[in-house]
Every structure is written in C-alpha cells, then in structure tokens.
Symmetry: C2
Subunit: 213 residues, 2 copies
DNA sequence: CGTCCCCTATGACGCGCGTCATAATAGCGG
DNA sequence: CCGCTATTATGACGCGCGTCATAGGGGACG
C-alpha cells in the first residue's frame, strides 16, 4: 500500500517481522513469510540482513521498543493537565483492549514473543533486555515528573511493565480484556498513591462501576 | 532422577514436554527431542498422543497448571500462622528467583510459552485459558481466607498472576532477579492493604478521555 | 498352544525452513 | 558510454520437522 512508497524494503521487513512475530511467535514466522508480508524482494533479505534471521528478529525487537517508548511519551503528552501514574497505566492498557475489541483477537507483544522463543540466543536476549530498558526509560521519567519520588520511580515503571506484559498474556489466552482491565483497575490506586503528598489518595474524577469479572 | 521407574512413558513425555517448552518454546521443541528427554520409546508417541503434537502440548500445559495450583496450596499451607497476600506472592516469586540463582538462568513458564506460540490454535488457547483459571482458583481461595473481601479476591488473584508472568518474562530477558524482586516488593503492600478493609468506593475504572493517539 | 490386545520399532514421506551461490539489473558518477 | 556499486532474482541444498504405514514383540487369558 502506501507504506511501500514511504518506507524502503528494509524498514518494511523489520516492521512486518515485528507484526508477524507478535502474532505467531518467532519460530513460527518464516523469512519468506516476512518478505511476502512486506511486499519486499526476497533478495533484499540477504542484502540487508546478512546476519540472517537472528539479525532481523533483533531489529524487529528494537523497532518495537522504540515504538513503545514513543507511545509512552505520547500518552504523557496527551494527558495534558493533571497526569497521574494510574492514568498513564490505564492509557497503556487501553491500547491493548482497543486492539482486542477492534480486531476481535489480541496479538501479543513482539518483545515477549522474542523472549519466550529466543531466550537461549544470547544476542536476541540482549536485544530484548535492551528493549525493556528503552521502554522503561520514558516511563520512569514520566513517573518522576508526576511526583513519584526518585528511588521509587524505576521500580514502579518495572512493575507497570511486568503487570502489563502478564495481563496481555492472560487476556490473549482468554481472548477477553478481563485481565487487562483488572490490572488497570487494581494497579492504578497503588500507582497514584506513590505520587507526592499532594493528591495522594482519592481518585476523585474517575467513574464508578468496576470492570472485573 | 529415577523418574523412569516411578512414572510411565506417557507421563514422562508430558513432563518432558513441559520442561522443554518452557525453555525453548513450543515451536522449537521437537517431538523427537521430547522422546529423547523422556527416555521414552518413540512409538509411544503415536500410541498415547494420537492427536499429535497439539495434544501433547495441551496436556503439558494442563500438567503445568495442576503443578502451579498445587504449589500455591503448598505455599499457603507452609505459611502457617499468619499468612498474608503479600507473603504468598513473595513465596511465588521466590520460586523463580531461586531457580534463577541455582541454575544461573531462568526458564520461562510453559503456559506463557504456549500462549505466545499457539495463540492461533484454538484448542491450545483454550487449554492455556483453562490453565490460568486453574492457577487462579487456589489463589482466590487463599486470598479470601486471608480476609480479602469476596468481590476483590478474584481481581487480586488475576493481578498477582499478571504481574508474576510479566516479571518472569523481564527477569528472563535481563537474566536477573531484578524485575521479580521489584514486583514482590511493590505489590506486597497493595495486596496486604486489601485484607479486611474494603475500599470505600471500590476500585475505579479506566479514566475517561484518555490519551491514546 | 493360540490369540488377542496393548505397546513398541522403524523407516519413509512431504514439507517448509534458513542459508548459500550465482547472476542479472539498475542507478549514477566519471 | 563505461564501469562500479547497490540492489534484486532465482534456484538449489541440506536439514529437521510432524505424520503416517506397517510390522514386530509380549504378556494375559482362554
């Protein structure tokens, strides 16, 4: 489509790899399949990714990390006036529940897929670790800006990521937003309670009616 | 281990499948490899698992779920005197940090691996969903027994599982217990705060007007 | 002793994979 | 127009996979 004009074959292949990996896993994603999905010439694989599949996977993971990090920054920017940690987490969760609702199914996170399928490949494991670090960075910054004390912010960022990844997994298995919604509902108070003394307790403006079960 | 005398080939294959799957993923685990690891006769595969690899994977997932559920019950029983939700979660986390410390590496959860690799196979997705349900059940019971109000217990159980699964993933990627320890540290207070006292207005839903795109 | 039936053995089949070798083509500065 | 490099085309190779077909053993029981 239009993407083939804006982006070169190389980028399209990385993008397609990430998409296919998150749907089917790394091992189940063939290189020929990536080429087809990207509408890229097969010869370009060898040319742009002399490191073979491993290189392509690593770059797909890195791409996903950049995407996720930017997404976090955009969430924060879009929250405007009075951003809260719980609100940020809810926005992150909503990205996934929205996908489930519109697509009828939930594809996973490519970083998680690479972790599960390639944990024994050192280079990919390193790429995945770097991805989580890159994803955590803007989260930590955002939490700090929202008033979370310095030593606590990185921990909460990691907690947010852990809970999100796990909830994605469970929601995917159940083909239901339940786990994601529950995660957001239950974690938000804790996150908001960690901000400075100002608006410590009391999600005042949030609508009622819990989402679980 | 003298497992080959205590258990029959069938059980050994299911057990081995779970072990290999959690290390390498479903797709990367070959049936011949399972047979070798289980020291089982190859012909038994066809005989005991006429449904092929899919059946074996599903049974491995079910086996893992039973194991995890029993483990939770044992944790609760072993906590004796004054069990707390945070303590239970810490015990669950410790199971994984211990493995990382003793083995030097962290294999994943077979249920998570099956989710990532087989989400498009309906029967396996169902098996995985059932696994999470079976895992959640004793957790919910334990939380209720510890004084978590009825409506909240299932939600917290799901939150615990989500956070645990995600933290396993990140710890595996980083080859470090950091994420697991952080999850335990940060989540325990929230879990313990839920005993006895009911939240005044109940947990709140996702905020309106969020920040996506 | 024969005869089931459960279990096991073994080899082949077809497929798709990742990778490589080898060219053909295109675009562009000289 | 000439080369040179970047890019693409194409086909083959070997491998391991999941699956199947077919047959061999080996107790239990009549």
């Amino acid at each position: 489509m239009g993407s083939s004009s804006r982006y070169g074959p190389r980028e399209r292949m990385v993008f397609s790899a990430a998409q296919l990996i998150r749907r089917e896993g790394v091992a189940a994603t063939g290189l020929r399949q990536v080429v087809a999905h990207a509408e890229a010439p097969r010869g370009s694989l060898q040319h742009y990714f002399p490191g073979g599949k491993e290189q392509l996977v690593n770059e797909a993971v890195a791409w996903a990390a950049r995407y996720a990090a930017r997404r976090v920054e955009r969430f924060v920017a879009a929250m405007g006036g009075s951003p809260t940690p719980g609100g940020l987490f809810a926005a992150m969760v909503r990205q996934w529940t929205d996908e489930l609702e519109s697509d009828g199914t939930l594809a996973g996170c490519p970083v998680a897929a690479a972790t599960v399928d390639c944990a024994s490949a050192d280079s990919t494991r390193a790429a995945v670790a770097a991805a989580f670090a890159e994803w955590t960075r803007p989260l930590t910054v955002a939490l700090t800006d929202m008033g979370v004390p310095e030593p606590r912010a990185p921990s909460l960022a990691t907690l947010m990521l852990s809970t999100l990844e796990g909830a994605i997994l469970i929601s995917r298995a159940e083909n239901s937003p339940r786990a994601l919604l529950t995660a957001a509902t239950e974690l938000a108070p804790l996150l908001d309670a960690a901000t400075g003394t100002q608006w410590a307790s009391g999600p005042s403006r949030l609508p009622p009616d819990s989402a679980d079960q």
